[in-house]
Symmetry: C2
Subunit: 342 residues, 2 copies
DNA sequence: AACGACACCGCAAACGTTTTCGGTAGTATT
DNA sequence: AATACTACCGAAAACGTTTGCGGTGTCGTT
């Protein structure tokens, strides 16, 4: 019933708890024989050290904290899956929190996780996160941190993301190539760098290809879920001069807008084309399939976790945080055809 | 940098740590004045109790363990979201593990979570889970447990699920009503009760409506992801007498099979109809949309978590575990039309 | 014979809490 | 004036580890 403790084990063996502890940790001061004895007994009685006691003593747990905006987002769920994969192998377990895209909630999350003395932290910030004292606070506590996907640039932490500028640039260029003239942009609040980067890529592509930027087609849809996409589409539908193509901040938004437009009787891509970000499963299922920037979500989770683990191992030495940019691919599909070819 | 401890706070106030502890816990032995003093100081200096020390002392943490087969499954991601929602409000945080549909991994997960002295455990078993000593072990450790979705019936634990038999029965009856004659069934391994229940519902519906059960159309596809669905469809496509309708164990499988069949040139639902389980987002996106049993995933997470919390609160008294059956709805959509009406 | 070197092990303190048990005032009761 | 409450607080042990330090015994060296 109650877990076996180190003392119990020591008593059974007739030696002291400290010796058993050292034996199980392969300490040089302990003889081969005693070590074998201890390990056998531990095995036999199924001894499991109490992580709380260990953490208390070592001031550091075997827990890795993860904060994502929303677990339900396929993208983040997949990232978490990747994280879990490598942290599991390394003997850590993950504590998952979601900020629900709210700053206050994110702050509460960081507090809860630092209070729980997580060994390290992996996070993607919320859409509301413009200030980042709470993140600095994590760093001040000496907790290694790796940001992924949505990062705040200024902070000196490990980072794993994609080249948002280039990806958006590529996607927009593709739309221009296809012959679309009025290209809209749908994104949430402007605060976070990811949104800015993608917008910049979109904007630069327009400029460099001599296409016009119509500010009214750049709509702040306030979030990045399907419903926000639908809202954006509604705005477009009200216009006298709606866009003929749309770059959305991610697939759910693209799909939401896509569906709304089709419900309104628009043909895709003849009347309006779409491109998104993520390469989510649903992007391949809709008809026509969605042109999208495929992001390696699982990979991102794995690399972020690996980066953190490396940081944890080399904790004592001075460690300069690395930034890793993962490759993306523009998947050209039915939702954006060359004008006139269909 | 280092977190402020109770002792630090006590020293600052010139009173003992025990008094501060009691004050912050609103213990009757402490005067109003001292309590106010302590709370103010705690507020001012941002004191946060160390959960590891608390857990060590109280032999019970503020962590709730969650084990799911796969985080990436939209269904489970949504359940987790629901869990997080209510546990967060109650001051717990969740530790998420995935079994990857593997029994050995699930066992490792339960071990890790009990080792971490989780206050309670929420789980949906893997497809491989036929033996359940590891779960019994959790119970023996006195850790309250609530199963959801995929439950093992025999165990005396809290349970939150749907009426799998009735749901499958309803869906199958619908297909029969539509005029389909050769109705197939796609599911993973037979071990777990959920699969059995759904099969039984399917089987009984066939029997009670005078429809024939063709054993060769009941294929064990070995898993419950899209690729397994595709595999099932491949098997069907090889047959001289393929089914004219298919009930799949869940939406990903249904969608996988659906897409494979369409790739093979079959028309849906004229040549072959489909029905799934979950009411996942993608079920609504494919064309024609998938007929499916909508399951309240978010709700399921919330109820499971609430049930567990209730169990945690009334821990001392004898508590008889409850089973909660959530309502489902048959969403009839384009993938299953009445024969001849189209 | 005395000395250090070495291998091995235990004592006890520490980590930050909670909680039991007392202890000290002060006040009210006989 | 002795007793009995009450109200409030502190010392110390405990939770299960880890670890610094010291201690014992054995051995080889002078």
């Amino acid at each position: 019933m109650a877990q076996l403790t180190l003392k119990d084990l020591a008593r059974k063996l007739g030696i002291s708890a400290s010796t058993v502890s050292r034996a199980l940790h392969d300490h040089p001061d302990i003889s081969k024989k005693t070590k074998q004895l201890a390990m056998d007994a531990a095995e036999k009685y199924g001894y499991q050290p109490n992580p709380m006691a260990q953490s208390l003593k070592k001031k550091r747990s075997n827990i890795i904290g993860v904060i994502v905006p929303e677990i339900r987002h396929n993208f983040f769920a997949t990232v978490i899956s990747g994280i879990e994969e490598v942290t599991y192998d390394a003997g850590y377990i993950i504590m998952v929190c979601q900020s629900n895209e709210s700053l206050s909630r994110e702050i509460a999350n960081t507090k809860a996780l630092t209070a729980n003395r997580v060994a390290g932290l992996l996070m993607a910030i919320s859409l509301e996160t413009t200030t980042c004292d709470h993140i600095k606070n994590v760093i001040k506590h000496g907790i290694p941190l790796v940001q992924f996907d949505r990062v705040v640039e200024e902070l000196e932490t490990g980072k794993v993301c994609i080249d948002d500028f280039r990806a958006a640039y590529k996607a927009t260029s593709h739309l221009i190539d296809c012959g679309y003239k009025r290209i809209g942009f749908l994104a949430g609040r402007e605060g976070i760098s990811l949104n800015r980067m993608r917008f910049n890529g979109y904007f630069e592509a327009l400029k460099n290809h001599g296409a016009t930027y119509y500010p009214e087609l750049n709509i702040n849809i306030g979030g990045c879920r399907g419903k926000n996409g639908r809202y954006g589409a509604d705005e477009y539908l009200k216009m006298d001069n709606p866009p003929d193509a749309v770059l959305a901040i991610n697939d759910p938004v693209a799909v939401g807008a896509f569906c709304r437009c089709r419900e309104a009787g628009l043909r895709i891509p003849e009347d309006i084309a779409f491109a998104g970000f993520s390469g989510s499963p649903e992007s391949a299922l809709i008809e026509p399939a969605l042109t999208t920037i495929s992001q390696p979500a699982f990979e991102m989770g794995k690399t972020a976790a690996s980066l953190l683990l490396k940081q944890l191992d080399s904790k004592d030495e001075a460690y300069t945080p690395k930034t890793i940019i993962l490759e993306t691919e523009l998947l050209i599909r039915g939702s954006s055809w060359k004008r006139g070819t269909k």
